[in-house]
Symmetry: C2
Subunit: 366 residues, 2 copies
Amino acid sequence: MQTLYSSPKQDGFYYPAEAAPHQGCLLIWPHRGDSWSYGGYAARETFVKICEAIAQSEEVTVCAPAAQYDNARLALPDHIRVVELSSDDSWARDTAPIFLIDGQGRRRGADFDFNAWGGLYNGCYFPWDLDRHLGRKVCDLYSIDRYDLQDFVLEGGSIHSDGEGTLLTTAACLLSPGRNPSLSQQEIEQKLLDCLGGETVLWLPRGIYNDETDEHVDNVAAFVKPGEMVLSWTEEEGDPQSPLCQENWEYLQAARDAKGRKLKVHKLPLPKPVTVSEEECRGLDCVDGKPARTPGERLAASYANFYLSNKNVIMPAFGDPMDEVAANILADCFLERTVIQIPTREILLGGGNIHCLTQQIPAGID
Amino acid sequence: MQTLYSSPKQDGFYYPAEAAPHQGCLLIWPHRGDSWSYGGYAARETFVKICEAIAQSEEVTVCAPAAQYDNARLALPDHIRVVELSSDDSWARDTAPIFLIDGQGRRRGADFDFNAWGGLYNGCYFPWDLDRHLGRKVCDLYSIDRYDLQDFVLEGGSIHSDGEGTLLTTAACLLSPGRNPSLSQQEIEQKLLDCLGGETVLWLPRGIYNDETDEHVDNVAAFVKPGEMVLSWTEEEGDPQSPLCQENWEYLQAARDAKGRKLKVHKLPLPKPVTVSEEECRGLDCVDGKPARTPGERLAASYANFYLSNKNVIMPAFGDPMDEVAANILADCFLERTVIQIPTREILLGGGNIHCLTQQIPAGID
């Protein structure tokens, strides 16, 4: 594995759309005591189902720290590879490299700095050194050369790409003082285009209410294909989420993508507010000497947090009447893929959902 | 990775000769404080040279425990892959699986039990659980199916194969009470043939004097090709090694391999006795509350502990007049390979040599 310090964009590399063909998917075994209730046992059952769904159409590798290797190996089926790899938590979307390709199908990893979603300003835990080093180890594991982009804090969940030059993010997250406070919005935009090989950045104002990632884009919206997207939606009166949805909608009405297109936007309904119970809070370790969650705290539930495997749309269910409505919308959007819906409350309790757990490895020639 | 409990031999799998084509080689970063003097820093310099020599003609992967990953990654060149993987010590020959192939070139790992060369009877350290689990992790890392052979203690260094049905071992090691005390020699022979796909086991009586592995065969002899081998040799009067060499010679005069051939044996001279210095002993952590080595202790130096990479014979040098003589003998034996000789005193101090550090992954189709 070579480490490169040049510009991915100038080298001809870009972030392909998630819908483009994958070699496989990387995930990380849930193990952190202040993220996963009661030792993570319930979360792991859901995690295994997600892995199995992905493995229906692409290779799956699960990273587990040494002390959890046996648990992961025994819980996961044989055709899923388990490798020993240390991490602080389990959100491969945010800690694994973003894999880029070039016109010839060669691959390189974009390895950004990571500070647990806000560092000492408003991050979720400290220290985060194992997560910060994970990108480098993953590139080495796959023998894929790596761009060292550690002068810029970025999580994969804060960026979507249409694969045709348009990057989608949220201002709420990328302009938060916990990420890159010394850079202006214009400088951040330039950095994104340079590191991920794009032409245009679309800045959705907001994400999902009370999302502890500072409102990651992957929890609120997703590309269906270039020029077309789904956007999480509610108009429920009194719900603090409603004005955020409205702001995003207005932004998108005026937006044009890298090809100059106006975006076709499908409203993807949100489930009713989901909150954490007292019993669930009791099963969580403390973080930095404080309770990890407070009973009644609203969780950032959203159907937009789905993963596009080679043949499936793997999406959350919350036991809500909207589960079926959202599944039908995604089925209509992704006609070449079959929707698999998995109840993911146990994952949501950890602070994310299916998309946050995954990182695709694009198909390529090396 | 599937785990199999059937008979490798009945499934058509066998242990190919080391001289057959390799995909690559697996090694483990030196890190154990009671094996490697003064934090292993000098051993690592030699280790890096060995890895570089192997990487001239095949892929090299180095496993490093989490705490040593950065040291390994920075010390090794980019084209060598480093993966996080826990171990107790660094002898991949003995702790990694032995990779088998079948007639179609499919590969499977033979994952035997490991007890640190003798368990609580006369093993080198306790506990050894990380080393014992390493074989399974390595199979998973390479996505190669695994035979669970954990009812039998066997180290790779105690077996050579000519790839044509002949396995070579030492009685001193395999009949030692620290391995499989409940099995007779005949039962052990049957187990070897069944697990490694052979027809005949040749039992050299002895190995190298004071070899703490109970006299592994890979430190005393090696196949040049089927029907032809090198045998470590001295006739020095008063050297306790001389009668061991004589016993081996006499055994081989009478032996026939799986094809009924008498073996052509090249005598490979041994260097003058090598002993550990007081200063070297001072740099070693204690093992089980006792000093790891005693000043003046004789080390098991031997030129037979070489590795056959795809294009090279990578062999030790000891700063002895015999270095050149031995190199010339191996050059004459392996006309299609170039000899690379590396001074390995720092590796020898850890209890083994180049061959002990390596485990070849045969080329195959999967």
